[in-house]
Structures are given as structure tokens and as C-alpha cells.
Symmetry: C2
Subunit: 453 residues, 2 copies
């Protein structure tokens, strides 16, 4: 069975590995547009910061690993068209030739591309001018080259989502003066403003010049530097980084007749099948089944890409498995803070038809008497009518086990727990690492003691 996979990142590699694990006779070929298969794009900020000096280390697996796993990786092969009837894909090779690949099953894992916000100047300024987006290794090399060539001592980052803030840390760590401009009234639009404020404060303490509620109108060259005009003033930087989210890369698939689903992403069922025969899609190019909402959403995340890729690969290889779904669980480290969340927030829960109540608590990560205790800010959202847990968000210090504490909520959400059941969980405790009632449980107890519950 010939399995063809278009893509070389998390979903694509997972699909290939899972297919061959399910059936070692599968011939898996991956058409990889660039030369960096299986690279961790989540790791880019840590190469930019200097914490990962060698970019090669960002690969989840080496070319040898992939070879040993029996994946036929075709680097520099950009797929240009799919013929669903003929079961072929045409691609251009690094030398510019056109080659056609037959397939029995096809997995589309073309990922996402950076969103391009409507900023004047963005269409004609690019890496050569010090204006960058950041999604691939080639983007990374171009950006690092700009930092070097332009002797950059300052940067303006447009967008205060996860990547914007990770890059703010990375560039500050490199010694640059960093300005962050965000159109919304808060950083990190996926968390509640009360927690976002803690992150904003921390960024400021670390010297980041943060401006929320600030819409960028124009980017322009001004001498050797770049000038960024907003509705609330002018900023300058040696480089500008525009990181305002991503959109699914679906051009190739839609040309072949693949139907779109949520937010312009490829429509797939929970077996990751598209509407076309023998054709699957997975990762950031596809929409995502939400485990709690029980409907499709667009949530491009590395964890999801791995899981969807595995499901697509197993099914393409003749197995039968379904994607359990995402809860949108995320975490990010921003300097010394860690932010994490899972499930719904008040606003998203209300939109989904729940009657949400969100309760905020603060509790130490471990017993206050043991040195180093730090506060964890928790916001738990539950459904007033049923008492069901809908989601949770946390902010605390790096080292306070924030990321893995949110996993307790994520696990409880997967089993449709009520908030009250969190307090009954038998969680681990030792004074240096926790409390007899963990912060996770104190938050749930506080939720249960709110008015009307």
C-alpha cells in the first residue's frame, strides 16, 4: 500500500510513523516542501534566544531516525496539484522538475501559514527590509540574518499571542530592546483579562515595552530603521516581527475539491477523512473536533497535530481509530511566569450555550513554610446548572508545576467531571511540592461555595 503524505511537520511525520507501525508493509512517502522535516517549530523562540545554540537540535528526529523508521522523505518537493480521481499528486523537485506520485491513500498535512493582518506596508516590505513573519525554519534563518545584518538592538513585535510573547522573551534574552504592540486590550487573548494582566505586568518588569489596545496602521522604512505607526503613537525598531496568528494552508487541497470546515480549515471527520476518497487531512490545515463542545473548531496546536496525524496514519494504513478530540489545552512560559489553560472560559462557554460561572482563587504552589512557595492564580469555570467543569486557567511562577497542574483539569474535563469531583481527587502531596488540598482543589472548592451553588 502506497501512502503519500504532503507535509513534513508534526502531523505528517506522526501519520507516517503511525501508518508504518500499524502495518510495516506500508510504503510511506512524504513530500516535504522545505528541508527541515520533523522540526519543532514550537522551539524556534529558544533558538532565537540562544538557549538552543544549534538549530539542528530543534529536530524531533534526525534524517537517520526517519530513514530507520522507513519513511521516504522527499525534501524540497512542493506538491502543486492533487488528482483525486487518478490518485496522483504532482510536485516540483528542488531542481524545478515536475514529478508525479501515485498513491493508494493520501494524507494532507500542509499546516498553516502566518496570518497577514491589514497593515499598510506589509505587502511590499519583507525579510530584506527587516520585516518578518515567523513560522518555518527558513523564516527563522531569515530573521536571524536580519538581526545580524542590521546589527539589531531593538525590535517591534506586532501581536501578543503565545508566539509574540515567547519572541519578546527571546529577543530580550538576546539583549534587544523589545516593543510589543497588540490590537486587543490584553495580551494572550485565550486567557481571561485578570490573568493576562499578571502576564503584562511581568513583561513590563522584564523591560518589555508593551502597548495593548494599539492597532498598527503602517510599517515603513525610515533610514536604517523601521517605523511603525499605530493609532496611539509611533514606534521604531531595527526589525519588525509580525506574529498575529495563523490560517490553515488549504490552497492545494481546495483546488482538488476538498471541502472546507471551520474557519476555512479542511473539513475532516473524527477518522480524519476528508470528503474525497482515500484522502485524509491532519494538523494545522484541518479543523479539530472539540471534546467538550462536541463539534469542530479551529485550534492549531502541536499536540493536536501529533494526535490527528496518528489517527490519519492508522486509518490510512487500514486501521480504524478516531480522534478523541481537543480541549484547547495550552501552556506557555513567558520569562519566569507560566500560563496554562484548558477547556472553556466564561465567554466561550456562554457562546456554547452553557450558563458559566468563573471563580478566581490564589493559593501557594506548596506549603508556605517550605522555602520558595509562590502563588498560583487559578480561574475555574463551571456550568451553574449542572455543576460540570468547563475549563480552568492558571498563572504562576516557572517551577510551580503550573503546566502539569492544568493537566489535572484537562484529565477531569476528558471524563466530564463535575467541579465538585476535583476536590475529591486523591492528588499527591509533600510539603516542598504541594499542599494537602492542592491549589487545583482549593479552586474547585471555592467554585462550589459560590452563591447559588
Amino acid at each position: 500500500m502506497r501512502l503519500l503524505i504532503i507535509g513534513g511537520s508534526d502531523a505528517a511525520i506522526s501519520a507516517g510513523l503511525a501508518a508504518r507501525q500499524h502495518d510495516p508493509s506500508v510504503e510511506a512517502t512524504l513530500l516535504v516542501a522545505d528541508h527541515y522535516p520533523n522540526f519543532s517549530i514550537c522551539g524556534i523562540p529558544y533558538h532565537v534566544s540562544g538557549e538552543v545554540p544549534d538549530w539542528r537540535h530543534l529536530a524531533h528526529r534526525t534524517a537517520d531516525d526517519l530513514d530507520r523508521a522507513g519513511l521516504g522523505i522527499r525534501l524540497g518537493h512542493r506538491a502543486t496539484s492533487i488528482d483525486p480521481g487518478g490518485h496522483t499528486v504532482t510536485a516540483t523537485t528542488p531542481s524545478g522538475d515536475r514529478v508525479t506520485f501515485d498513491y493508494d491513500r493520501l494524507v494532507i498535512a500542509t499546516g498553516a501559514v502566518p496570518a497577514r493582518p491589514p497593515i499598510k506596508g506589509l505587502d511590499h516590505l519583507g525579510p530584506g527590509d527587516g520585516v518578518h513573519q515567523l513560522h518555518t525554519m527558513d523564516d527563522t534563518f531569515a530573521f536571524l540574518n536580519s538581526l545580524d545584518q542590521r546589527h539589531a538592538r531593538s525590535a517591534v513585535i506586532v501581536g501578543a499571542g503565545y508566539i509574540g510573547l515567547e519572541m519578546a522573551e527571546a529577543l530580550t534574552t538576546r539583549g534587544l530592546a523589545v516593543t510589543v504592540l497588540e490590537q486587543l486590550d490584553q495580551v494572550m487573548p485565550t486567557i481571561d483579562p485578570e490573568l493576562a494582566d499578571l502576564v503584562a505586568k511581568h513583561l513590563s518588569e522584564r523591560g518589555v515595552d508593551l502597548h495593548t489596545g494599539t492597532r498598527v496602521a503602517t510599517i515603513a522604512a525610515e533610514g536604517d530603521r523601521l517605523r511603525v505607526d499605530t493609532d496611539r503613537g509611533v514606534h521604531h525598531g531595527d526589525v519588525v516581527l509580525v506574529v498575529t496568528g495563523v490560517r490553515p494552508d488549504v490552497t492545494l487541497a481546495t483546488s482538488a475539491g476538498v471541502r472546507l470546515g471551520e474557519r476555512g480549515a479542511l473539513a475532516v471527520d473524527r477518522r480524519m477523512r476528508t470528503n474525497l476518497p482515500d484522502m485524509y487531512a491532519a494538523g494545522d490545515c484541518a479543523h479539530t473536533y472539540h471534546r467538550l463542545l462536541k463539534r469542530d473548531v479551529y485550534l492549531p496546536l502541536g499536540t493536536t497535530a501529533h494526535k490527528q496525524g496518528r489517527v490519519a496514519g492508522v486509518n490510512a494504513a487500514g486501521g480504524d481509530t478516531i480522534f478523541a478530540g481537543s480541549l484547547g489545552t495550552q501552556t506557555v512560559k513567558v520569562f519566569d511566569l507560566v500560563v496554562a489553560g484548558t477547556g472553556l472560559r466564561d465567554e466561550t462557554a456562554r457562546q456554547a450555550g452553557f450558563d458559566p460561572v468563573t471563580v478566581a482563587t490564589v493559593a501557594d504552589d506548596h506549603k508556605a513554610y517550605y522555602p520558595g512557595a509562590t502563588p498560583i492564580h487559578v480561574r475555574v469555570t463551571g456550568d451553574r446548572a449542572t455543576g460540570r467543569l468547563l475549563g480552568a486557567q492558571m498563572v504562576g511562577r516557572s517551577g510551580a508545576e503550573i503546566a502539569k497542574r492544568v493537566d489535572t483539569y484537562a484529565t477531569a474535563l476528558a471524563f466530564e467531571a463535575r467541579v465538585a469531583e476535583i476536590a475529591d481527587l486523591d492528588l499527591s502531596y509533600t510539603p516542598p511540592l504541594g499542599s494537602p488540598w492542592d491549589a487545583v482543589q482549593l479552586a474547585a472548592t471555592a467554585w462550589g461555595q459560590g452563591p447559588g451553588r
Copy 2:
């Protein structure tokens, strides 16, 4: 309603607080045998080590806190008899007087006492001779006094359970040469030998002279020091600490006719009711409902004492709530390692009638490219026939979020998850703090790929 509580530690205080929260009209009186109500006995090693210089900080709450919460704390009141028919408890006061307390409802929270292993000499040597057990604040003061008076430069610890190892760390941190003697062939009998070996190695690296499979026969004074004779040689120390577990303190309750349950602990139902009317028991003196085994066991843990105390308090105050049960979730820090476990192991699962399979994996705590990644050793136990998760154990470096990673398994156990469902969980990921497939999930996936599954 007059609620009388015998005890002053976790279960007792939780019962009092919960009762008054449930019904603020409850008059709650606590008979506390010593002068240290609501002290964290789990914190004792960190006072001995010097990390918590002021012993007063080990109190979960101050006397003022307890007063404000409306708890009538009678310090130095040792309950001597219960009259279940007359609904009275007699106690001796600090001045030696006998006083009688009426109650409408009674909560027995007398805790546990250190087990006294059959070691020759232990019956006539005591704190005055530098031979100690360690369970209360008074024990702690006596031990610290011995360290001081005897100018102790070396200690022999008998018992390599949680407290033995925490004290080995504490005394090493104080600068003493520490010998640990353990009768069993491994440290920490609640984890598998493969993981215990990692802990033993770490102890040795930190200079602890560890002897497992070594039975202590005699403790004797020899000049200014103490001599400990074992079946495999002789050891000397300036002090000896015997920490070989605890047994429930049930003398008072059984005299009154309270029936015993598992392992000589007080028998209670899931509402924490004893067999006698209006009489509850909670904490280390009572047995514990096991959530997975669905039967009673003896598992004296601080977390459980808090939960049982709360259930007893609410029910005593006229509410109706049940104890969800324990999974035996535990964690301990030993120098730079953290050990954690939840649920059953191969051996305990087999005894309970399951057909367990345990699979060992090692995975990094976070992406290897980001600085500081360390391996986590995981052992997952599942039921061969049903695929159900039965338990998990982990060992890794402090800082690797071991304690809160085991909570994911504990949460999944509470909802009777299958092992395969762990891999489907949407857990958090960012390169400095995790992996797209968390170590917790890789372990579950490896379990699923074992022979016959």
C-alpha cells in the same frame, strides 16, 4: 449542637472547620493532647534540616486563625474515656484535673503512633539516651535536643520509608553522617524495586550509608555513642532514629466499644461513622475506603486525613456527604529526586484479583533541545483483561513536575480510565515544560504496545 472532637491534627481540625462551615451554629470543641494544634507533621523533616528555622511556621493555622474560625481548642487535654451511652468524654487537663465534656456528636481523630519494631534495647532506651521515634512536635523537640546535647555528628536511621528518607536528607543537610538501615531489600516499600534502586543510588551519591536487607537486632549505649547491631554488621551513631511506620491509635476508642476494621484501625463507613451512635472517626486512627479496590484498607496519609475529617465534620453537623476514597497517591522529595505513585502496583493488583501488566518507560520531562531536560522513569500498571489503568509510579528530578504528573494518573484512576485513554488526553505542552506526547502519555502508549495488548 455540641460537637466534640478528640485530636488536634489534620483530621480533627478539618472536621471542626467543615462542621462550622456547614452549620455556623455548631459549638465545636477540640481536645488536643499536646500544645501543637494543626501542625504539619509532614513538615518536621524540614525543621530538622534547618530549611524551616522557626518551628512555629509548621502550623497550618495559628491559634488566632483557629479562634477566628470558632473552634474551641483545649490544649493539653488528654481524653481518657468515652461514655457512648451518656454522650460524654472525660479528659485530664494540663494541671492534672479530670473534666467531663458532653457531646451531641463526637469525632475521634486520635491519629497514629509510631510502630515499635521488635528491637532489643528499644524498650529501655529513649530520648534521654539519644534513641528517638518521630511523630509529634514534642518528639521533634526531644530529637533536636539530643542532636544538640550529644553534639551529634552521626545518626543511624532505622527504616527507609518516606520519613526515614526525608530524615536522611534532613540530617545530611545538617551536616551529619547518616546511616540508613532497612530490613526489606529495597528503600520505599510502596514503589517497585526498579524505581527504589534509583532512589538508593541517589542516596548513596549524596553520602548516605544505606544498608537494605539488614535487620536491626539490638540498640545499645556504648560510651557516649549508640551501637546498632544488625544481622549483617554493626553500626554506630551519636543518635538513633527509629522510623518504621505507624499504627493507628485506637486504645481510647476501642475501650468505648468502637469496632476495629482493617489493620487494627477504627472501622468506619464512607460517611466516617463508627458502629456507635453519634460517633465518627477520621484520619490516621481510622481505616480508609480505597476508590479503586472498592474496599477498606489502612493508608494513613495527610491528604486522606483532611478529606476524611471534612466528611466527618459535615456529617456530624447534620450534612450528608461521603468520602470518595483514596488511591494511595503519594509523593516524596529525596534530595534532588522526586518519587510519586498512585493506585496499585503489580503485586498489590494481583493480590486484589486483577491480571496486572506493568510496563516501564523513560522519557524526558521536556524537549531535549531546551536546557535542563531530565529523564522521568515511569511504570504504568494496567489490567490485561480490560485494559483498565490500575496505577502508575514515577521517579525523576526535582523540578521535572513529577508530583503533578502523577496527578494526571490519579485523576484518570478516579474516573476508571483505560490505559489507552491516557494517550488521548489533551495535556499541555511547551518545549521548556513538556513534550507533544507527555512522558505520562508515552508510558501509556508503551503499555498498549506490549505483547498481548
